[in-house]
């Protein structure tokens, strides 16, 4: 919903929150995931919950909430309570602030005393996190501390160990270290967002004393939005690609009219430097695994001439796809999406022209089209929108651009073969198919939350769940990593299921089976099935059962089990199907071109 996109109007959201919620829920065809979020507060949290709900619904996440009693975050985290135990949170958000620091240093303390106080204060929090991890295997999001709105020691408040500011910065450093070594733990950086909002306005003591809100009520949308960014990123709802306009977006001026020598880029004047900084900002996204593409109304020759300038930061090679032609941009973006095999809704379209923005926004459901404003505000708006919020940087993210480039190469080379099998053999594919291992837990969890198309049951899992399944001997788990002569695709297939002893013998139920669309039609699913069958036989299992639950996006795997030689056992009125494979009969491998392990 456009009202919830940055830059939103916080007062409008606060005032209209009930109507906004109603409108969000009235939208049709939204493919929601449901998540249980426990808010453990050190101050009032009611409106934080209500506004967070709006942003999450907008991201396609339907939250259920547990809210601790006023300032009972510590007790609930450390000792739990019946209601929370029954609730089984997916995420615990600990909303604490500088108001929850019980004791600050005073100037009479020795250095040793201040050190001990910092340690004790920190440990009180770490105790909460450890207890929550242990009891709920949940993801934890923890506020760090905002800066105080007064400085007793003046400028020394930041440098003297007795200063509140010094103390807060120190604690924030300790929180960050914990986050660094715990993949299911995230910092909600209120230290940054309060500074951006204005510390003085953020603090608003009257809202604290009247309502026990530890921040100004008007700042709640900023807090909630920041939090929603993290949550949607955890559940794989980040955007994947940029579709960028060129003229007056990547450089100043119109390359076709002005000539490449006259566009504004480089370092010659203020405007050129501004566009250069923007190009640098865009280029830095490549390393985060964000795909760069162009959607420009231009003759291709002119577009490339703009990028070929020696002082252009972005070059032709930075882009996976360049569409510079006179077709409508929505068509070009749809085409690019198809070539890259990603959804058109995973693009962020950046264009200085409001008419182009309106067209693309109307034609492509779910695409993000920020109101970027003037060139000097491009970075601020894109950055604050949080399209690509980083949660866990995996090695795969860093290589993603290369992988897609290799895919485009593969597509080109497939055209030169008459026989598809010959093409597959020419790829020299090698797969690693093994039980879930610690190195890949975050990627596996990410795939369960991101994959929509080649996904039989669309079961979403947190990393903590994946880890507990991996340890359970009742489960068989396998990830598949695929490499070929063009490059490494990384982990692209995931499956797990559980054993059951029944009167008909030992049965294996496939709870989850998914594959990334970047390796469609390569036979990877057959190689995975071989490994599952082999493991089942080893465990004395006589039958495998597979399930298909239809969603708006997974039609492509409707007949997956049939293709794998399973028999249809049951179908209900809603096209949910159940399939069986008898392991006592011989089964044939569909894998022809992949060597395994």
């Amino acid at each position: 919903m456009q009202e919830l996109k940055y830059p939103y109007d916080p007062d409008y959201i606060l005032r209209k929150k009930k109507a906004i919620k109603r409108q969000l829920l009235e939208r049709e065809g939204v493919n929601y995931i449901t998540k249980k979020i426990a808010i453990l507060g050190g101050s009032t949290t009611n409106d934080i919950k209500l506004i967070l709900e709006l942003f999450l619904l907008d991201y396609g996440i339907k939250p259920e909430f547990f809210e601790s009693e006023y300032n009972k975050y510590y007790e609930d985290a450390l000792f739990g309570n019946e209601e929370l135990d029954e609730f089984k949170p997916d995420i615990c958000f600990i909303h604490t602030t500088s108001r929850n620091i019980l004791t600050y240093p005073d100037v009479n303390m020795s250095k040793a005393q201040v050190d001990a106080l910092a340690r004790d204060t920190y440990q009180r929090f770490e105790g909460c996190w450890t207890a929550l991890f242990k009891r709920y295997s949940c993801t934890i999001i923890q506020n760090n501390f905002e800066m105080p709105y007064f400085r007793l020691l003046g400028n020394s408040d930041c440098s003297d160990i007795h200063g509140r500011l010094n103390f807060i910065n120190r604690l924030n450093g300790m929180f960050a270290s914990f986050a660094e070594s715990n993949e299911s733990f995230f910092i909600n950086d209120i230290n940054y967002i309060s500074a951006e909002y204005g510390i003085k306005k953020w603090a608003d003591p009257s809202d604290w004393y009247r309502y026990k809100y530890a921040l100004s009520v008007s700042a709640i949308p900023d807090l909630a939005f920041n939090l929603a960014r993290i949550i949607k990123a955890i559940y794989g709802r980040n955007k994947k690609a940029f579709a960028l306009d060129m003229d007056n977006t990547l450089w100043g001026g119109i390359v076709g009219d002005d000539g490449p020598e006259n566009i504004k880029i480089g370092h010659e004047d203020a405007e050129s430097e501004l566009y250069t900084e923007f190009q640098q900002y865009i280029k830095a996204h490549k390393d985060l695994g964000i795909l760069l593409t162009v959607a420009s109304k231009n003759d291709e020759e002119n577009a490339l001439a703009g990028l070929a300038r020696p002082d252009s930061t972005l070059t032709k090679e930075d882009f996976l796809v360049i569409k510079a032609n006179w077709d409508n941009k929505d068509r070009n973006i749809m085409q690019t999406a198809k070539e890259l095999n990603i959804g058109a809704d995973s693009f962020v379209f950046v264009d200085d022209n409001p008419a182009e923005r309106a067209l693309v926004l109307n034609q492509i459901p779910g695409i993000s089209v920020p109101e970027v404003g003037e060139p000097e505000s491009y970075i601020g708006i894109l950055d604050r929108s949080g399209f690509f919020e980083v949660t866990n940087l995996s090695g795969d993210d860093l290589k993603r651009g290369e992988m897609y480039k290799a895919n485009i190469e593969r597509a080109k080379s497939s055209m030169s073969f008459d026989n598809y099998d010959d093409y597959l053999r020419s790829l020299e594919m090698h797969a690693e198919i093994k039980p879930f291992s610690p190195m890949y837990m975050s990627r596996i969890a990410e795939l369960t939350n991101k994959s929509n198309q080649f996904n039989l049951t669309t079961r979403r899992c947190s990393q903590a769940e994946i880890e507990s399944i991996a340890e359970d001997p009742k489960f068989i788990t396998r990830y598949g990593k695929l490499e070929d002569k063009f490059g490494d695709n990384g982990v692209v297939a995931v499956t797990f299921g559980h054993e059951e002893d029944s009167p008909e013998g030992r049965i294996f139920h496939i709870d989850l089976w998914l594959m990334s669309c970047r390796v469609l039609k390569r036979g990877m699913e057959c190689a995975m099935m071989d490994e599952i069958i082999a493991e089942c036989k080893k465990r004395g299992i006589s039958k495998i059962k597979g399930y298909y639950y239809p969603t708006a996006k997974n039609k492509m795997v409707k007949d997956f089990y049939k293709q794998q030689g399973f028999e249809l056992l049951r179908e209900d009125g809603r096209e949910n199907t159940e399939w069986g494979l008898d392991l006592e009969k011989p089964c044939e491998s569909g894998n022809i071109a992949i060597t395994v392990n």
Partner: protein, 80 residues
């Protein structure tokens, strides 16, 4: 701004905050008369009123309000 004009704007605020287009408030209206006007929603109401009229109540002003009439008195005093 006249008292009538203040009420015109104030009714819109009430309608938005309580998501009910039929709300009409007057001097005698109290929290008991409006569905959903509890202490938590009171916070949103005050914030929305402040924003709408471009004023900022002092802390003391918002805690002891008896009815909408008193709120309107305070708004008019702030608008001066």
């Amino acid at each position: 701004m006249t008292r009538e004009e203040v009420y015109g704007k104030l009714n819109e605020v009430f309608q938005d905050v309580f998501d009910d287009e039929d709300i009409e408030v007057n001097d005698g209206t109290t929290s008991a008369d409006v569905d959903g006007w509890d202490s938590l929603e009171h916070i949103n109401l005050i914030v929305a009123v402040e924003r709408t009229f471009g004023i900022k109540f002092t802390m003391g002003e918002t805690t002891g309000l008896k009815n909408v009439g008193e709120m309107v008195d305070k708004i008019i005093a702030h608008l001066g």
